[in-house]
Amino acid sequence: MIADEIVLSFPNITRVTMSKVLEYCNIHGAGADDETRAFDEQFVDVDQKTLFDLVLAAHDLKIKMLYDIVGERTGDMMKGKTPEEIRIIFNIGENSCVDDHPLQKELNPWAFE
């Protein structure tokens, strides 16, 4: 028997995140204009967790425009913050592997001279 509907499964994307992605796609379906730009501004004005979820979802679903705007917004939120502040804000753990890069503390000294 041939199924008359197709089921797509994205175990890594929550229902909440997916509905936001679909909302974005619906608004942008007709192309970009002032309204979509206004929508984008408020769309990315969300908490860090939601933003990060959207980055990962857009990456998985390969939606470039969404990927770009949420990626840019995340980048903006990182500007001017210390690595420790970013760890806290974005819930990012340290790499505790034994063979951690030996020059961890001396990475890219040129940028700080």
Binding site: D60, F90, N91, W110, A111, F112
Partner: protein, 288 residues
């Protein structure tokens, strides 16, 4: 991407969620690289220290390719090394942020770390100075105050004329040209008293000096100003020029002159000429 349920699982019905810390492997490197690409290079390098994923992502070629000037390949091949294709773009960017000397060591260029803008400095030794061979008028003086370790000092002259030209493949953009000058033989220091009578500074308040710059495509700026403020280095802004095409080299001529022969002038130190993107002028001035 691994299915880590801690962060990405459906939220519990009561709305609470306490996601475990994201561990390495949950953040696709390309995601991190995309986010980093919106930061400036010093910030990217700072965040590269966050964890291994960030470190790996920070060296993604596409990030640095966007930060490099369009003609970076030409700049590297011409002034740094042949066949730079073995180097990552991160490494190329790093190398170009260090001053690259050329023209017998009398000129150097570098990329501004933060913006990637190209800056270029021309030593007084590469300038054409009328009377430079006559020690009654001009002398080269070694000093650590100059990036080229030499300044040209004018004792006294009727005809002041300092000219130069630069033929360089500037990346597209708008650039400012500035002369780094100081009235007086020495820089004022808080604990040093310099006699106002012996410093040889004279003639600058009678007539203004004239600065000029021009390009073959017809850009031409003339400006005049009175030199003031003894004992401190200053960048004197000559003017701006626009580069439309980084694939073609821009030949720019510039000069400083005061050729009114009714009076002598003297006590002027000439360090160098600076060319930089016009949005960086205030940063250079702040360094003095």
């Amino acid at each position: 991407m691994g299915a880590n349920s801690s962060l990405l699982s459906p939220e519990s019905t009561d709305g609470s969620s306490h996601p475990a810390k994201i561990q390495l492997g949950d953040i696709p490197e390309s995601c991190v690289a995309l986010v980093l690409s919106y930061l400036d290079p010093p910030e990217i390098c700072k965040l590269a220290r966050l964890n291994r994923a960030f470190r790996a992502a920070s060296s993604a070629d596409f990030i640095w390719d966007a930060k490099l000037p369009l003609n970076y390949h030409h700049l590297v091949e011409e002034y740094l090394m042949k066949n730079p294709s073995k180097l990552g773009k991160n490494e190329i960017y790093r190398r170009l942020t260090r001053p690259v000397r050329f023209d017998a060591g009398n000129k150097e260029f570098w990329l501004d770390k933060r913006t990637g803008g190209l800056c270029l400095s021309i030593s007084c030794k590469a300038l054409t100075i009328t009377g430079i061979d006559d020690r009654r008028y001009w002398n080269f003086i070694p000093t650590d105050e100059s990036r080229f370790h030499t300044i040209a000092y004018l004792q006294q002259i009727w005809w002041l004329e300092v000219e130069g030209d630069m033929d360089f493949s500037f990346p597209t953009g708008t650039y400012s040209l500035l002369f780094k000058l100081r009235l007086g033989r020495f820089t004022k220091r808080p604990n040093r008293w310099v006699s106002n009578h012996d410093d040889g500074v004279h003639g600058w308040d009678i007539k203004p000096v004239q600065f000029q710059l021009s390009t073959p495509d017809g850009q031409h700026v003339v400006s005049k100003c009175f030199l003031e403020n003894k004992g401190i280095w200053e960048y004197h802004h000559v003017g701006d020029f626009v580069v439309d095409d980084s694939n073609v080299s821009t030949k720019i001529k510039f000069s400083l002159a005061q050729i009114d022969c009714t009076h002598t002038k003297g006590g002027l130190s000439v360090d160098s000429v600076l060319i930089c993107p016009c949005n960086l002028v205030k940063d250079f001035k702040a360094l003095l």
